[in-house]
């Protein structure tokens, strides 16, 4: 099993990612095991996949996918894997927040593709809790990416209450201090 980052720790990945073949042919789905299939495969094979009892189902979507096109099925998925063709394609960040905040998705939200440590903090802010790094990246070293920033100003999926509302509750002069200080 491959190593991924899950909940800010290293984890073995139980999921088998099935991508379309080079010729665009639908992948063969094994009877047993947890599998992640492209959204199109899910849409084409929905009934068969729902009837499958040998493992859980996850889907893979691109960052520019409309969440409304699969939102009704979210309860069936153990993973939604958002694919970043390049890390600078910011659409997946908005998709993450929409899935978490508007569609109430609670399962694993995984960033895949051109992902490395310098994006982890921001992706976590958008609701991603799992990361499959690109080839050649050390997942262990990448964990440092979660420790770069100790705060964010904005409301985010990770911290639904923006800093300015927490500053006040934290102290009278508007400066937040740790509880044990």
């Amino acid at each position: 099993m491959a190593t991924i980052i899950k909940d800010k720790k290293l984890a073995a990945d139980p999921w088998l990612r099935l991508d379309a073949g080079a010729d665009g042919a639908a992948p063969v789905i094994p009877a047993q095991g947890d599998v992640i299939v492209p959204l199109a495969v899910w849409q084409a094979e929905r009934e068969a996949l729902l009837a499958r009892i040998g493992g859980r189902i996850g889907i893979r979507v691109n960052g520019d996918e409309e969440p409304s096109s699969f939102a009704d099925d979210l309860r069936h998925f153990g993973v939604v894997a958002v694919y970043f063709k390049t890390f600078t394609d910011g659409r997946g960040f908005s998709l993450g927040r929409l899935l978490r905040e508007r569609y109430g998705y609670r399962g694993e939200l995984r960033a895949i593709g051109d992902i490395f440590r310098d994006q982890l903090h921001f992706l976590a802010g958008c609701g991603f809790d799992a990361f499959e790094l690109r080839e050649g990246e050390s997942a262990l070293e990448a964990l440092a990416g979660f420790r770069v920033f100790s705060e964010t100003y904005q409301a985010s999926t990770e911290r639904p209450v923006p800093l300015f509302r927490r500053r006040h509750s934290a102290s009278a002069d508007g400066v937040e201090r740790p509880k044990n200080a």
Binding site: F122, V148, F149, Y153
Partner: protein
């Protein structure tokens, strides 16, 4: 001056540590050139023609003297003794070494400054009126709203990788001194009939290759909704803005493609989900940010200073400077002063480390230890007692910063151009210099009156040529530098009359040597056509159209072209 609290400081420090680590990884070969490029751009670091260029943010153009001295120190220690104040109220260093940049950022952090998001496809420095807080036509103090937006736009997790750069301007006064119709988002503070504060929201303006005047998508946004509404705009843009072509990736293209009406509906639909959510601003937060600004403690003065008025009568040179470079102030007995960085022969916006230190001395002595950078690339002492103006003038003269040309043709806005920038097609600084030399008679300059002349070395339009009453754009023709002239551009309603507008090109381009002659011809037409001194160049262009100007500049050749056009149309 906004004073960081412990959290603001911590975030800036953490950013320095992050960039130090990224630089280390890059130099150790662990980050590729391409990956590092994206990361360094988020810290204002470009690789330029001769060396890296570091752009440091001066949030909404406001600086303390402590910060200005630190900028001088950086220029001396890590650069070649000077910096360039840009049209975005930032400062740029043209000669730092990559290895030194983490140390420079640490030095900046020690005075509550940074280079965060000064380049790359993210939120850029929020800009505003350089007379915020002192203008007589103030509606709100825009600095407070700018700082709220600075915090909201810093490291926003969702909007870390936008389709393209994103510029927000806030105007808190009646006159638009922030060019809000030429930004991705422009915010105009307004008060309703009860005095309640809101914002007129303008979206999709901008310069660059496709200059467009922005569209009002909301007339009155009550202030508590400011962040949720902007979040809705940004989400629509982040998801649907084009990413396949960088020249079509700005929000203005999306607004145009969808039409402003449809774009507005998209934003409203998104906002319906975000409205009244946790990001809704509170009065407490606005008061907190406001209270973290140190404010000049003005003396109670009876009104205009009599000795000052007497000096204006007695010393014509002082009076000339005061007329152009001194501006009215909302507090009786005070004035704002522009220190000109537009001396002939010096690149517009450049200041040496010694000049920065000297200006810091002046600001400490005469203006409560604060100053501003204007988007016209000058420095402003915003709170000077009228009784001190004469002393400030004497000091400014000795610094070469008393050129009495603010608002005049020789107060040229120009980008660094081909002398420094790898993007530029053509040089801009020698052009500015040639124009300033041609118009070296102050009497003539004053007779011409208010005129914005802006020069960009390429279509990226960092010199804002589109909104110059006269705009000069460097273009490349078969590897040679040529210049296109446009007229009729305007940065906004700085006073009643001409609204924000994009200039129109008058015709084929010119060689560099021809430019002063061409400008002079345009001015001649204006002087002949104006009805009185009050009618500015831009007003005449609006009234008469381009034709009289074209005729004078292109002469018979232009007549021939028109005739050909007619015969072609008839054929």
């Amino acid at each position: 001056m906004y004073q960081y609290d412990e959290i603001d400081q911590r975030m800036v420090n953490e950013r320095v540590a992050e960039f130090r680590d990224q630089t280390r990884r890059f130099l150790a070969g662990k980050l590729s050139e391409d990956d590092f490029r994206q990361l360094r751009l988020r810290n204002g670091l470009y690789i330029q023609r001769y060396a890296p260029m570091l752009r440091v943010a001066i949030p909404y153009g406001l600086l303390s003297t402590l910060q200005l001295r630190a900028l001088a120190n950086i220029a001396r220690t890590w650069d070649r003794g000077y910096g360039h104040f840009s049209t975005r109220q930032n400062i740029q260093y043209n000669w730092p070494r990559l290895e030194d940049v983490p140390d420079i950022l640490a030095e900046l952090a020690s005075v509550q400054m940074h280079a965060i998001q000064t380049s790359g496809n993210s939120f850029r420095n929020i800009t505003t009126d350089h007379f915020a807080g002192v203008a007589r036509d103030e509606i709100v103090d825009s600095f407070v709203w700018c700082e709220i937006l600075r915090q909201w736009s810093t490291f926003h997790p969702e909007f870390t990788y936008l389709p393209r750069k994103f510029k927000i301007a806030v105007n808190g006064a009646t006159a638009d001194r922030a060019a809000i119709f030429l930004h991705d988002i422009g915010l105009q503070a307004v008060r309703d009939s009860t005095g309640y504060i809101g914002f007129r929201v303008i979206v999709g303006g901008g310069m660059g290759r496709t200059p467009i005047v922005g569209q009002v998508i909301r007339e009155f946004l009550p202030w508590p909704h400011l962040l949720t509404y902007l979040e809705a705009i940004l989400r629509v843009y982040n998801r649907y803005g084009r990413r396949d072509n960088i020249y079509k990736a700005r929000i203005k293209i999306l607004v145009k493609a969808r039409t402003p009406e449809v774009f507005r509906e998209d934003v409203e639909a998104e906002w319906a989900h975000l409205k009244d959510g946790p990001a809704t601003l509170t009065a407490k937060e606005v008061a907190r940010v406001e209270s973290r600004f140190t404010r000049p403690q003005h003396e109670r003065l009876p009104g205009d200073d009599l000795l000052h008025l007497a000096r204006l009568d007695a010393e014509p040179a002082f009076a000339a400077w005061a007329k152009r470079n001194v501006h009215s102030h909302k507090v009786p007995g005070y004035a704002a002063v522009t220190l000109s960085l537009k001396k002939t022969g010096v690149p517009p916006g450049d200041a040496t480390a010694d000049q920065m230190d000297a200006v810091a001395d002046l600001a400490e002595r005469y203006s409560f230890g604060e100053l501003r950078v204007s988007h016209e690339q000058n420095l402003i002492l915003a709170d000077v007692r009228q009784s001190d103006l004469h002393a400030v003038w004497i000091a400014a003269k000795s610094l070469g910063m008393a050129t009495p040309n603010i608002g005049m043709i020789t107060n040229i806005i120009a980008c660094p151009g081909g002398d420094f920038c790898s993007l530029a097609f053509a040089k801009s600084i020698p052009v500015a210099q040639a124009i300033q030399e041609r118009f070296d008679s102050l009497d003539y300059v004053y007779d011409i009156g208010e005129l914005d002349l802006n020069i960009s070395g390429c279509v990226n339009s960092c010199g804002h040529h589109h909104v110059g009453h006269i705009g000069v754009l460097g273009v490349d023709k078969d590897g040679e530098e040529w210049y296109q002239i446009s007229i009729g551009g305007n940065q906004g309603l700085t006073r009643p009359g001409a609204p924000a507008a994009v200039g129109k090109v008058i015709g084929p381009s010119f060689s560099r040597a021809q430019i002063p002659d061409v400008i002079e011809k345009l001015i001649e037409v204006y002087l002949e056509r104006r009805e009185d001194q009050e009618e500015r160049f831009i007003d005449v262009v609006r009234r008469t159209g381009l034709e009289p100007f074209k005729e004078r500049v292109y002469g018979d050749h232009h007549q021939g072209q028109k005739a050909r056009g007619r015969s072609l149309a008839a054929a």
